[in-house]
Chain length 503, copies 2
């Protein structure tokens, strides 16, 4: 059927065409079917929407990307043919039925995902099926491999070390310490990080306070080769592009299928050629990993998957039941991490964790007593020197200092309303307060905890200081803090004697 092409200014992820009901009936297609659109040797396959008003009979509307890819003028005539569904739909249905997918089937599926050849309905059926029916380690390894193969890859001459945290614990700025320590020890660590989705600050959000994070694959490669490490954003490289498209569907459903989470992490490491990987699995109340059993299952799967992908993986199950360190929010976390590198600040939880994790990587690289060596590199200032090299390579200042971080100037202290011991700090509440203050968009927004679990508190003591860029956001965050009461204080009523007790 010949139809006149009309430009529709909406940029859908997948190629989308809109045809009039009568024309659809004429060539026997329905909404969500696929049509091939041809003109001048150009050809796309688009998913069909139907209408009785948005385009007229004899017209075909092509949404943003689909129109542009055709390289035609508005109102040019195109040839439209009904075309069958991709085989991937059959593979999705196989997973719906709970069957195992073959290597070839998984590859076809990931190719169709990264070519944006599946509609939101089909993508959602895939994600939901994997959430419910799962994938075994073989399928997950094939999924990872296919995600790597459909994107860009970086190859290094030297063995590549890498580090990843499963996340779920606010204030986890350890990447800012692990990378310079490992690089200072002479191991190559081209680390890419993510931005916050629902957290208060991703590592990329923190680094952006003092350096660029937005590089392409060749930029990452040349930086890593010149200074031995990077702390960049993974999102602007075309690494495992299927992952972002899958996450786009997981997000509205609020699900993160186990196999997909594993493949998401491992594909990014595999794409930069990582041979040695340390995984941080924060475990505890209000994290992604509630108990030791779940944590061990994650660890086992990461290690098994690494084996299938020719990577050596070691896992550290860490305590994530309260924020790591004191600061939460991009600039505040940057300030805390840099102060540690400068030797000006000594929050034990951050230093212990960073040196422990870096030490595991050093030992994988053949350096004995890794944790002691890591601490030595930190205390000697060598890690700071390497950090500055990395910052300069990423376009930041050579004189970077913790004192320069632009923390929010509108502050309010939250005080203890009773005396006792801090029995817990709720991660999710901390994140909600930091986000109410403007984090991660306002770089200076967030909070600093002055008391942590186990600390004793007098009534009126400062529990935390909230930072924001303006009074309105500060008030919003303070209101959240008052409502959520993130710092739980357990009164120590051990000495009181009840009046009816007679001795």
């Amino acid at each position: 059927m010949k139809l006149v092409a009309k430009y529709i200014d909406v940029d859908a992820g997948e190629f989308t065409a809109i045809m009039h009901d009568d024309d659809c009936r004429e060539i026997g297609v329905r909404e969500q079917d696929r049509v091939k659109v041809k003109r001048h040797g150009n050809e796309i396959t688009a998913i069909l929407l139907t209408t009785d008003s948005a385009v007229a009979k004899g017209e075909i509307g092509l949404l943003g990307k689909a129109f542009n890819r055709m390289g035609i003028q508005p109102m040019e005539e195109v040839e439209v043919i009904c075309t069958p569904k991709p085989d991937s739909i059959g593979h999705i249905k196989k997973k719906m039925r709970g069957e195992e997918l073959s290597t070839e089937e998984i590859r076809g599926l990931v190719q169709d995902i990264s070519n944006r050849n599946l509609s939101p309905v089909e993508m959602s059926a895939y994600v939901t099926s994997v959430y419910i029916n799962g994938m075994n380690i073989r399928e997950t390894a094939d999924l990872t491999q296919a995600m790597v193969e459909t994107g860009e890859r970086i190859e290094f001459d030297n063995p590549v070390y890498d580090f990843h945290s499963v996340g779920g614990c606010p204030g986890n700025k350890v990447t800012l310490l692990v990378v310079p320590i490992v690089a200072a020890a002479g191991l190559m660590i081209p680390k890419t990080s993510s931005r916050a989705i629902s957290s208060a600050a991703g590592t990329a959000d923190i680094v952006e306070v003092f350096a660029n994070v937005d590089f392409d694959a060749s930029g990452l490669k040349s930086m890593a080769e010149s200074v031995g490490g990077t702390i960049a954003w993974g999102g602007s490289m075309n690494i495992a592009p299927a992952d972002d498209l899958i996450i786009k569907v997981e997000y509205p459903l609020g699900i993160d299928p186990h196999a997909q989470l594993l493949a998401s992490v491992m594909s990014k490491k595999k794409a930069v050629g990582a041979k040695f990987l340390v995984m941080d699995i924060p475990m505890g109340e209000n994290t992604k990993v509630p108990d030791m059993e779940t944590a061990r299952a994650y660890a086992r799967d990461f290690i098994d998957l690494g084996e299938k992908l020719d990577m050596r993986v070691e896992c550290a199950i860490t305590y994530g039941g309260q924020p790591v360190g004191r600061a939460v929010g991009p600039a505040l976390e940057a300030r805390e991490a840099i102060a540690i590198l400068e030797g000006r600040d000594q929050p034990r939880s951050v230093i212990e964790k960073a040196c422990g994790l870096a030490g595991m990587l050093l030992e994988m690289g053949g350096i004995p007593s890794g944790e002691e060596k890591a601490r030595e590199l930190l205390e000697s200032g060598k890690a700071l020197a390497k950090f500055r090299e990395i910052v300069v390579a990423q376009g930041g200042s050579p004189d970077i200092s913790s004192g320069d971080m632009p923390v929010g100037e509108h502050t309010r202290e939250i005080l203890a309303t009773s005396a006792g011991y801090v029995s817990g700090i709720n991660n999710r509440s901390v994140v909600r307060i930091a986000r109410a203050a403007g984090s991660p968009k306002d770089k200076g927004a967030g909070l600093e905890l002055t008391r942590k679990r186990g600390d004793s508190v007098e009534k009126g003591d400062v529990l935390m200081t909230i930072h924001a860029d303006n009074e309105a956001k500060l008030e919003r965050a303070v209101a959240e803090a008052r409502k959520l009461q993130p710092v739980a204080i357990e009164g120590m009523i051990l000495s009181k004697v009840p009046s009816f007790k007679r001795i």
Copy 2:
């Protein structure tokens, strides 16, 4: 946030808004989140798409329905607020985890579906979860009830009888006989039918050859009250509107979750107040129901579900392994059915089936020896008279005759290439040939079988005649027939004696 509204000429099913990435970041929303759009007391909740080009910063694009519902002018300013997900998302996740949903949860879900408050991603997750994890009869009854309550209902003073075929078997024109027989017996049967989706002809497609099928609920009610029965199209009434929206998502995935199929059928019957229902379950190769065990399970579920919905349901498991009767395609099926009513044609399979099904309904209505009575109504011409009343009520001619049906004038006979007995006729191939000929869009297109299973055939005998509106479609259908060989002939080589056999 105040944004300027821009009209986007695409009519998505759900309310959809498009905002610039920077504005999204400003108010902390992501693609697939929801925003409330307000102006002049009008307010809608829309699902968000994000862009860096389709709308500018400071603008919000509202797709067709969303813009129109707001009742504003293009470029008017609207207030945009981030708003939480509906509770239904939580209920979908509960079904994903394989848990049972409460009556309230199912009601909320169906309300959000029929209010078009769920995105394609969310709808697909729902359908996929129900496909994988199923629903028990209590949940299915609640689903049916909620689907009825979110649409229009018709109430009759007299008890309502109804009939439904699960489908899957081509040529099943029995509704055209069952309805007039039952109505002629004095029972009220306000039947609604569907159009073909993937089949060669739905009952509504057939009736449309000689009468109108497109009525609203009050039209259906007044027709049924005046002549005792209808054979209308269910699609244009606002009966159980959630069903159509769910089917729109099932279609691209090619799935039909059991619970959803049950609820789809039963909601339409419940909405017209049916108290007595006969279900036809065609069973056999290349139908929806492959074996007796599956058929019995369907029957049991329909009966149980009926009990929970205060309907008496009886099921007939019928043989569906080859087409019913000889004709497949709207006008050809109309001609065959009317010829039977006129007493001009006697294809036993159609008459037996129609009288058997009608007889079950008559007995439910207290008329003894139902099948005999049905046959009597058919043979006496009373069914034909009632049929004509119904046709006239639906705007057709009072002189309707089988000879008037406009069957396709371009015909071709398909001949047997060998002698033997017909061992089977493939339903799916028959449908593909009829559709290639133009059915159901071209009313006259389709085919007529001249041999059925068990018939003996000489080489060169006519197996079927294909009808089409033009030569091109006829050639396409003939090519399909040559390729698919829908009529299998088993050579009867019983009398040959092999040469090496010595007696």
